[in-house]
């Protein structure tokens, strides 16, 4: 068990280093973009005079390294600073959106993961059957369409007939039940988009194992095919499955901006696009760090879980 703790500690330290490097890269990239916050805020109606006044007020005239240092010093003390474009604390701006994004990601995961694993196991069990081919074909079709196309198709079928709303509107008084109802279409879209990857990995991992001698032994003992797969094959196939699930969860948190736009879902993706187009660096940094942390933590979790599920790794000599 100590080994696990050591691994977690090491990986967390490396994760912090990764985050630092990412923040430098993002800051540099935002600096390279043409225009600056003052110009984007004033837009087409900017004049040289008002630009100069606004730059002075926002402190944009400081050299870039100094501005980065000021930001970093704040973050190290747990203060992500103020959004310069909205003059609101970043924690307030990002907090609610982060909650929404996590809700949608978990909702989609709660639909997609069991569905994909079930399909994968059944497809492996009845491989090369009609069921296997049909579920493969459908899953691959769904993943091959662009997300917005899947979304619009669902809107056409399920929203225009009045079954589900085509947009999500979250207010202070929205209950969890209403949230689940309103966010059903975006969650379903995401489910369709991520299922194929997880399902095919599950199927491949299990089929791979079904050729091994110990499975043959189990069969020869006269076990039912279902029991062979669930008791003997799945536990050994967990490591790759956990990895692919973690990857897809990270995607659900970071990569859903198109879905957010189509369903008017107030998540982090839209906020990030707004912030990039406004050159609001502090907000871009905060969201990037959240996204990067999601990847770092989920990968760590996947590694820890695959270690725990594999006795050979747990009891290394």
């Amino acid at each position: 068990m100590n080994e696990i703790w050591r691994m977690i500690g090491q990986r967390l330290l490396l994760g912090v280093l990764t985050l630092f490097i990412i923040s430098v890269v993002i800051f540099g990239a935002t600096e390279l973009l043409p225009g600056d916050l003052a110009r984007e805020l004033l837009g087409q109606s900017a004049t040289e005079e008002t630009l100069a006044a606004l730059r002075e007020q926002l402190g944009l005239n400081d050299p870039a390294p100094l501005r980065y240092w000021n930001w970093l010093a704040g973050v190290l003390q747990g203060d992500f600073g103020m959004s310069m474009a909205t003059q609101k604390p970043i924690s307030e701006l990002v907090g609610a959106r982060l909650g929404n994004t996590l809700f949608l990601a978990l909702y989609a995961a709660a639909l997609a993961v069991p569905f994909a694993l079930l399909l994968g196991v059944l497809a492996a069990l009845w491989r090369n059957s009609i069921f296997d081919r049909a579920s493969n074909a459908l899953a691959l079709t769904a993943i091959s369409f662009p997300e917005f196309f899947v979304a619009y198709t669902l809107i056409l079928w399920l929203a225009q007939s009045g079954l589900f709303p085509s947009m999500v509107r979250i207010t202070g008084s929205t209950t969890t039940g209403e949230m689940l109802y309103m966010a059903f279409l975006p969650a379903l879209t995401l489910t369709l988009v991520v299922t194929a990857h997880m399902m095919r990995m599950t199927r491949a991992a299990i089929i791979n194992l079904l050729a091994s001698p110990y499975i043959e032994m189990a069969r020869l003992k006269g076990m039912s095919p279902m029991r062979v797969v669930l008791r003997h094959a799945v536990p050994n196939a967990l490591a790759p499955i956990i990895n692919v699930v973690a990857l897809n969860l990270a995607y659900l948190i970071t990569g859903v901006v198109v879905i957010e736009v189509v369903f008017v879902y107030p998540g982090l993706g839209q906020l990030m696009i707004d912030a990039v187009s406004n050159r609001d660096i502090a907000v871009v940094q905060a969201i990037t760090l959240i996204f990067a942390s999601a990847y770092v933590l989920l990968n760590l979790l996947a590694d820890v879980l695959s270690t725990i599920t594999n006795p050979r790794l747990m009891h290394r000599k």
Binding site: L33, P34, G35, R39, E40, L41, L42, G43, Q44, S45, A46, T47, E48, E49, T50, A53, L54, Q57, S83, A85, T86, Q87, L93, Y152, I155, A159, Q160, G162, P165, S166, M167, R169, T171, G172, V261, V262, F263, V264, P266, Q270, L271, D274, A275, S277, N278, D280, V283
Partner: protein, 523 residues
Amino acid sequence: MTKHLIGQGGMTRRGLLKSGMAMTAAGLVLPAGMAMAQTEPKKGGTLRIGFNSGSTTDNYDPGVWDTNFVQVFAQARHNYLTEIAADGSLVGEVAESWEASPDAMTWTLKIRSGITFHSGGTVTADDVIASINYHRGPESTSAAKPIVDPIVEMKSDGPNTVIVKLSGGNADFPYLMSDYHLPIMPAKDGKIDPTSPDGCGPYKVDDFEPGISASLTRHSGYWKTDRAHFDGLLLLALPDPVARQNALLTGQVDVINQVDLTTVSMMSRNSSIRVLSVTGNQHFCFPMDTRAAPFDDNNVRLALKHALDRQEMVDKILYGYGAVGNDNPIGPTQQYYAADLPVNGYDPDKAKFHLGKAGLDSLDVSLWVAETGFTGATDAGSLYAERAKAAGINITVERAPNDGYWSNVWMQKPWVASYWGGRATCDWMFSTAYAAGAPWNESYWDNERFNTLLLQGRSELDDAKRAEIYHEMQAIVSNEGGVVIPMFASFVMGVSNAVATPDVVGANWDLDGFRAVERWWFA
């Protein structure tokens, strides 16, 4: 002092002329079938509007508003000194009436008494002065700074009178005060609070989440009794055009703006909604840098003006929702519109003739476009290039990214795509985008005669003389200006049949001059 204009309800020579013009114009621009059975406005209901804009950076600071969402949100909670009525005439709002000195340099505004802020106080001259002052001075970052710069002094004379001194005569000063950046907000120690939603308009803010939504309820003490019929408003940011249409089709909103023109015909098949289209001053254009070769030669500019098929652009880019432009930014609904100017039509021979006069056989130019310049700019550029070939003009269409377009391409590259929402008066439009040295003179145009006339027209109080001046100016712009204006684009809105709209819908801005929230009602 000359009694010049009287406020709401009053009729002057100018008002009479204007409303007559607007009636004709409205007849032209409202498509058949638009005329709804008119009923007396009813009170009640919550109007839900889906907007094409809305960003997390939206805020209460009047100096930075520049998208439909914040503009309508502002008109929902604020009143202004003056208002452009739906027919294009000017009526008083916070200012009950106004008079000018004979040189139009000193204006005395009478402030309407009994208007209350949502927070309870009464609107006084001090509030008005503080609200306008916010945009003045070297510290100001306001987009309205160029509008209020000519003000040299503002002082109150009692709680209901404001005296404004200008650096030069301006007969249109009351029009300028209707600008959406200039709401009247409560003053504290001579300053307004640009982070406060407090205003004296028809609705007060309950909740505002920038980039998502705003909800408002009726201000019980609102002074206009025949306006603001809704109990509440819900303004939603729906930037995706398909999401916006879906919201209207599934009944989640009552009104949307900027209907996607490529699918409008399919949307209008739905019998529970209607498409509302008004043509005003909004125009799409291709400004050239008149300082740079080859655009410094007016013959080249004329050749380019004759090398595009304007009607085709209206048909193919605007899907018919617009009108042909004549390189003149003054729209047909405006008071001093010069309807009798010769039309710069598609004529390759004439274009060749002008090229020849410039000493050229053929011409190679680049046109920078992006969809943010105006919707359909890329296609419009290709269409232009295709038609110009016949005149021996090779136009290379350069696609620029939307991001940073206004800072890196517009007014930086020699020939670009751009648009204007339009301004309510000739002087306002010309001094914003055509006067020498104006910050947004996008063609860097400097015409001596034009600039002289501009100053004359501005301080002229006599209508007949002004009409003459503006006629000549429009002729100069159309003939010598550096901006190709192929089309006036309509404001196209989708409206649920549950919502009733007045006979005349304002054409000065989108959504009934941003005033749908107080002019419309539930049928």
